[in-house]
Every structure is written in structure tokens, then in C-alpha cells.
């Protein structure tokens, strides 16, 4: 299958054209955030305060990179388990977040929020962190440096490979893929 090249920020028109199984190459700015950063973002929303990053049309990559060795932009940077962010993701999708990159299954509430707001969830290859780090050309911490690997980084990526696992229509590639090969 040909890979579609996407550039952030993503419009609703772009995301609603994507379907499960579509392979993409992501370009532009994406933000990292994991468990602790998500908790803080949602706390700010609860307090009616401004977020440290603009979410409209953006993609959040669930990753806690390893530290950058000398001469490198970033260390290894593969996806982390998305399900841990399920409690927070719908709130961020409401705020305009259009894409998430991670690995592993999402909750029904996240799938509903994606349908309602035209967002998508991409999977990257779990564990292929040294390989993926080659697609990251810039990295800087933009919020919560005290969280160490969980700080929010602004990354610039070039042809970051991912696959649409949940589209804006409730499709789920994990379930479909499993059905094809299940012999139980």
C-alpha cells in the first residue's frame, strides 16, 4: 500500500479521509506526552487555565525518549502503551487534538471521542525505537522539564512511519487484523 504523506497541523478534512490500515508518513511538528504530562494538562483544563501547547490540529506522540547521546538530536524513541492515556485523551480530543501515536488498544470512550471530533489514532512499531529515532530531526523540551522522560517535547519529524489503527468512523485495525488470522 502506498504511504500517504501527512503534514501537521492536521485538518479535520485530512483525518476524516483516513481509514484503518492506511500507512502514513508524518511530517512537521508533533508533541510528546505520557501519563504524568497528560494528568497535568487535564488538571489545567479543569481549572480553566491555558495549556502550555496549542492542541488544535496537533498530534501527540506517546513516548518517553531515552536521553540524547552527544551529537544526537534525541535518544531512542519508540511508542509507549496508549491505553494508559485513555483516561485523559477524550478531554484533549475535545480541545482540537487530531492525532495520537502510540501502541496498543484504546478504550471505547477514546474511540467515541475520535468519532465525534474527527480524530485518528496511529500505531508505530513498538520497540523499534532506535530505528524510529532516525525520523526525528529536532527535539526540545517545551513543558514540564521536572518530569524527566515524561516532559513534553516538541519534535520535528520527517517521514515518520505509522499506520492508522483507529479511524474517525470507529474502525479498529487491531480487531480486524486479529480476525484475519485467528484460528481459535
Amino acid at each position: 500500500m502506498t504511504r500517504v504523506r501527512l503534514t501537521t497541523p492536521l485538518s479535520g478534512e485530512i483525518t476524516t479521509n483516513l481509514r484503518i490500515g492506511q500507512q502514513v508518513l508524518i511530517n512537521g511538528v508533533i508533541y510528546t506526552a505520557r501519563d504524568a504530562a497528560h494528568k497535568r494538562l487535564v488538571e489545567l483544563l479543569d481549572q480553566g487555565k491555558e495549556l502550555p501547547i496549542e492542541l488544535e490540529g496537533q498530534i501527540i506522540y506517546y513516548v518517553g525518549p531515552s536521553p540524547a547521546p552527544p551529537g544526537r538530536v534525541i535518544g531512542s524513541a519508540g511508542p509507549t502503551t496508549a491505553g494508559r492515556m485513555d483516561a485523559y485523551a477524550p478531554r484533549l480530543i475535545e480541545q482540537g487534538l487530531k492525532g495520537m501515536i502510540g501502541k496498543g488498544a484504546r478504550s471505547a470512550a477514546v474511540v467515541e471521542a475520535m468519532k465525534k471530533h474527527g480524530a485518528v489514532y496511529f500505531a508505530a512499531i513498538g520497540g523499534a525505537a532506535a530505528l524510529i529515532s532516525r525520523c526525528i530531526v529536532e527535539s526540545e523540551v517545551v513543558a514540564y522539564p521536572d518530569l524527566g522522560p515524561e516532559a513534553i517535547h516538541r519534535l520535528v519529524v520527517k517521514d515518520f512511519p505509522a499506520i492508522v489503527v483507529n479511524d474517525a468512523y470507529g474502525g479498529d485495525l487491531y480487531q480486524e487484523g486479529r480476525k484475519l488470522y485467528c484460528q481459535e
Binding site: 531515552s66 536521553p67 532506535a130
Partner: protein, 280 residues
């Protein structure tokens, strides 16, 4: 009696933390290649090839193969004729972890208190399993363990009447429930017997065996093979996107148990089955 300086333990643990994270053992890489040949899903094949490429890049560039460089799980077989000098054994292991994770640019993933969740900044404390053995040598194995796969692991106290069928069901349920989350293809460690904590430790120790090396007891080796076949029929596949390679191997370790008990623990490892050993 042989005297060993704790400084040697610090140096070796620091080195092993880095090597384990940079260099995937040949048996694991060989299992990716074998699975790639037999996998029927095209995307599954591609993913297995990319995992080989990832391991090659990590080794060549001294980069961690996975960004989650894990909890530092350290197995020590301590000869009973060894006398340690110049330090505290536990502190020596932790200092080795501290140094290894700092010098290797490995991710520090440990928080000091499970509720306060403040990162300790140096990946300590290490989880240390100490066994006293005959002789005057020390064998240290560092086995960094990622959170994503560890989180999908499970333990259950079965009734003895549930027997081997109960064990099979529990293992399969655990893998089915884990689905794409723990980064398949998996190495699956199963502990059967002992007490609750012994059983969990057996499952972890089972992960150290070379991939696919069968248990020496024929009935247990047969159960490993049966479970592997059943797991690979679940369809989860590489990265959970569908395929016949959900697991690369199932390793079982057993131990005697109480007449009332049949504990089973399933410790899931992702494809980055990392461990490096040294004998001092």
C-alpha cells in the same frame, strides 16, 4: 574463601546495563528471522524485518533498542565462599545501575514512591534477586524489563483440581487480554508451583533462557510447545496488527507446591528480550 572488591561489582553492573540495552542476543535475532520466514501476514513480515534492522542499528550505534530501558532487574548467584570487601553489596549494584544508566544515556524510568511518583533520576532502586550457591564465583545477570510488557503480566492462584487445563486457560487468557499492548512478538515466561512470590520469580527466571530452548522435562517441554501453538493461533501477530507470530517462545519453570495450591504466573516479555551476564 575468595575476596571480591565491591568496586568490581559496580563496574560490571554498569557495563551490563549498557550492553543489555544496546545488543540483542543472537538467539533472539535468529528467532525474528525464523518467524519472518514462516509469518503469513505481509505487514507481520515487514515488522519482523524492521525489528532485525532496529537491533542492528542499536548495536552499531550504541543506542538502546527500545526507549524503555526498563527496571534494572539483577539476578545474582553468589558463591558461598566469596567474601565481599570495600562496600555494601546492594549499594554496589545500585551504584552500578546509576553509573550504567548515566554513562549509557539510558532512560531513567524509576519513581521512588508508587503514589508520589517522583523520578529518582538514576533508575534506582534495582530489583535484586540473590541466590546463594556453592563455590567462590559470582554470576551477575542484568535483565532490564520494560513497563509495557510487565504491565500485561498476571498471576493467579488456581485450585489443584484445575490442573494443566487450568494453567493453559490462564496463560491463553492473559495473552489474549494483553493483545497488542506488550509489543508482540512475545517471549512468555510461565512459573508454575511454589508459593505466590516463588511462582512469579520462576516466571521471570524463565525469560532468561535462550529463546525456544525447551525445558529439560519432556512433559513440561511438551506443554511449552502446546502453549506456543495455541498462542500463535490467537491471530494477534507482530505489533498486534494480525499474523501467526504472536509469541516467539514459551518458557516454563516449575517448583513443588503446597497440597492446596497451584499458583501460575505469566511474565510477558516484549521482543526485546534483554539480558547480559558475567561471572566474576
Amino acid at each position: 574463601m575468595r575476596t571480591v572488591d565491591c568496586k568490581i561489582i559496580i563496574d560490571e553492573v554498569a557495563r551490563l546495563c549498557q550492553e543489555a540495552n544496546f545488543k540483542l542476543e543472537e538467539d533472539v535475532i535468529a528467532s525474528f528471522k525464523r518467524s519472518c520466514a514462516s509469518e503469513v501476514s505481509q505487514s507481520g513480515k515487514e515488522i519482523l524485518n524492521l525489528l532485525v534492522e532496529n537491533a542492528n542499528i542499536a548495536a552499531a550505534e550504541s543506542l538502546p533498542m527500545c526507549q524503555d530501558t526498563g527496571v534494572a532487574v539483577v539476578f545474582v548467584e553468589m558463591g558461598q565462599d566469596v567474601h565481599l570487601i570495600n562496600g555494601d553489596f546492594t549499594e554496589a549494584i545500585n551504584e552500578g545501575v546509576r553509573r550504567g544508566y548515566r554513562e549509557g544515556y539510558l532512560r531513567k524510568s524509576m519513581v521512588g514512591h508508587p503514589f508520589e511518583r517522583v523520578n529518582t533520576g538514576d533508575n534506582t532502586p534495582a530489583v535484586i534477586h540473590l541466590k546463594l550457591v556453592p563455590g567462590d564465583q559470582i554470576k551477575i545477570t542484568v535483565a532490564p524489563k520494560g513497563g509495557g510488557s510487565e504491565n500485561m503480566s498476571a498471576l493467579k492462584m488456581l485450585k489443584p483440581a484445575e490442573g494443566v487445563e487450568g494453567v493453559k486457560k490462564f496463560v491463553l487468557d492473559t495473552i489474549r487480554n494483553a493483545g497488542p499492548n506488550p509489543c508482540p512478538p512475545l517471549i512468555i515466561g510461565v512459573g508454575i508451583g511454589g508459593t505466590m512470590e516463588k511462582c512469579a520469580l520462576l516466571a521471570k527466571e524463565a525469560l532468561l533462557r535462550p529463546v525456544g530452548q525447551p525445558h529439560p522435562l519432556p512433559d513440561i517441554a511438551k506443554l511449552e510447545q502446546e502453549l506456543l501453538v495455541s498462542i500463535n493461533r490467537l491471530g494477534i501477530g507482530p505489533s498486534g496488527l494480525g499474523g501467526i507470530t504472536t509469541a516467539l517462545a514459551v518458557h516454563i519453570e516449575i517448583f513443588g507446591s503446597h497440597i492446596a495450591s497451584l499458583p501460575v504466573a505469566v511474565n510477558i516479555n516484549c521482543h526485546a528480550a534483554r539480558h547480559k551476564s558475567v561471572v566474576i
